[in-house]
Point group: C2
């Protein structure tokens, strides 16, 4: 099924069930008020949500769904842990920032800001064009409650929903924070999330091995920028979840990210962030040529199935100055 959060004046919004084609929706009133509540009470509410989804898909008692009005599926979450599971991303970033490639036998993961996730079409206010504004297209999963010590095999059953994320990054600030070993605070402002969260079955055979086997389509100021294949993760989401839960329980509603989608064939498929393209330019031309984002620049990200249907709806946003 497909779920979205629509604005109602509260920070957590109002849960809605969305038709597979993203054209119709019905509020989940009486089942769960918010997506966080639905995730916390999943076993109890999933059957009613599924029944509503079936009704929505045949057009019964629905309202038009306008993805541009949606909030992030979880407008805030108790936990956001982002991996970096695409090895070619790590290799290119090491080139760009002249740092060691830190990929190893264990997944890479940092804890990021989770008290706010931006709506998929709202303007993204950032304090300075000099910070190296960049997008990072990725996939994520929303988990149920996961016990400490879960195995990767067990972890797969705790994936409730799959989401599509833009992990905004400030590249001028990132290397200094990375060199401290403490991870990123200033370099990682709030992420954006595509309008619709989907249960894994919506991906059909494209969900397997804990990975989304579909390309992430990225357009930068209207021009095609990348279509890297999501399935190339060195670690699946089940392994990322087990890594995260090594010494902590994960609360219901934790969001686990894949890191920037990237393929070894980056010269063919393009990239999901500007920094990677700059890395390729360094390799091929000796110096980076593509600038980071300026105010007014737009990025769009969308994933479709083989039939052309949009899975999550689109992230489509413009970067703007922080209002004074």
């Amino acid at each position: 099924m497909k779920l979205a959060t629509l604005p109602n004046g509260t920070r957590d919004g109002r849960l809605a069930v969305v038709s597979r084609d993203l054209r119709r929706a019905a509020y989940a009133d009486g089942i769960a008020a918010t997506l966080q509540e639905a995730i916390e009470r999943w076993d109890a509410v999933a059957p009613a949500l599924q029944a509503l989804y079936d009704a929505v898909n045949i057009g019964r008692d629905t309202v038009p769904f306008d993805a541009a009005q949606a909030l992030a599926p979880l407008p805030r979450a108790w936990q956001w842990l982002d991996g970096s599971a695409y090895l070619s991303h790590g290799e290119l970033m090491a080139k760009v920032f002249k740092i060691d490639n830190v990929q190893g036998a264990e997944p890479l993961m940092y804890q990021g800001i989770s008290d706010r996730f931006l709506a998929p079409t709202e303007d993204v206010a950032l304090p300075s064009e000099e910070d190296g504004i960049d997008f990072e297209g990725e996939f994520g999963v929303i988990t149920g409650a996961v016990p400490l010590g879960v195995t990767p095999e067990e972890a797969l059953a705790h994936v409730r929903l799959v989401v599509q994320i833009n992990d905004w990054s400030l590249r001028v600030l990132a290397p200094r924070e990375m060199k401290t070993g403490f991870g990123w605070v200033q370099a990682k402002p709030p992420c954006s999330v595509a309008p619709v969260a989907v249960t894994p079955d919506e991906l059909g055979l494209s969900w397997r091995d804990g990975r989304v086997h579909r390309p992430l389509n990225v357009w930068f100021n209207g021009a095609r920028f990348g279509a890297a294949e999501g399935g190339a993760m060195a670690f699946g989401f089940h392994e990322l979840i087990a890594h995260a839960a090594r010494t902590r329980n994960l609360c219901a509603g934790s969001i686990i990210g894949s890191g920037t989608v990237s393929n070894d064939s980056y010269r063919t498929v393009g990239s999901s962030c500007i920094a990677e393209r700059r890395g390729i330019e360094i390799l091929d031309e000796g110096a980076p040529r593509t600038p980071f984002m300026r105010y007014g620049d737009r990025v769009r990200m969308e994933v479709t199935l083989a039939d052309g249907g949009s899975v999550f709806g689109a992230i489509d946003q413009r970067v703007v100055p922080v209002p004074r």
Copy 2:
């Protein structure tokens, strides 16, 4: 004033106002249900909380306060950003872990798990004694809503409450995570927080320059372990808040930590974590001698004012295996 959160079967508990001597309390029912709510509506609720505090201090309509029953003041928070503002801590840790001392002109800060803060006397369940279980005694502040780009001078006015924290750390896991540059996930399970959060005025002249100028007393298995002076921060909390808010708004109820309290005079005042003592042993004796914690070991942390009165109540906990 002094505030605590008492258990009522919900995850956020029930807000109570506690007498200065920590002997009496009154529920804040009708003012704010939870501490998070009080922080979000601070200007509206602070006068009523203060009036209740005045009444509690003269013993009107109170119940006995048992600090051992309290939850963490915020049993969960939307954001936990921990600094490392004591330079001697960084110097000793570099010795212990044979890493570069990464202290610089900017504060160090990582984002940690915030969906759960442990109650001050509950058992601390950790998965393995082989992980290098260690405590880290520190101070923290709970902020109101802080705008992006706040200056250090402005930031001080956003400090709502001061708290005392044990930032549990798993030392065997920490260096590998630090070397990735991504910060700590596995090495930093949930923190514990002392029972009472206090407004800065409760510290009198010991709150100045955005610092708590009192020693943090630490006992390990009943033996005095450290009494390092809190005032030795290289950056005050106002500077840590401004650092955190460089590219993000801080939501009301964000917790900002000082990092492990440590003084240059560590041979005299002792330490607030085992790793530091091991660093001193390496310096003085060529090898570390004090082992990390084993199951059953206890740590106690408490801060008093000059008159001997406890400021925050005590953290007093035992480490145990994760229940199977």
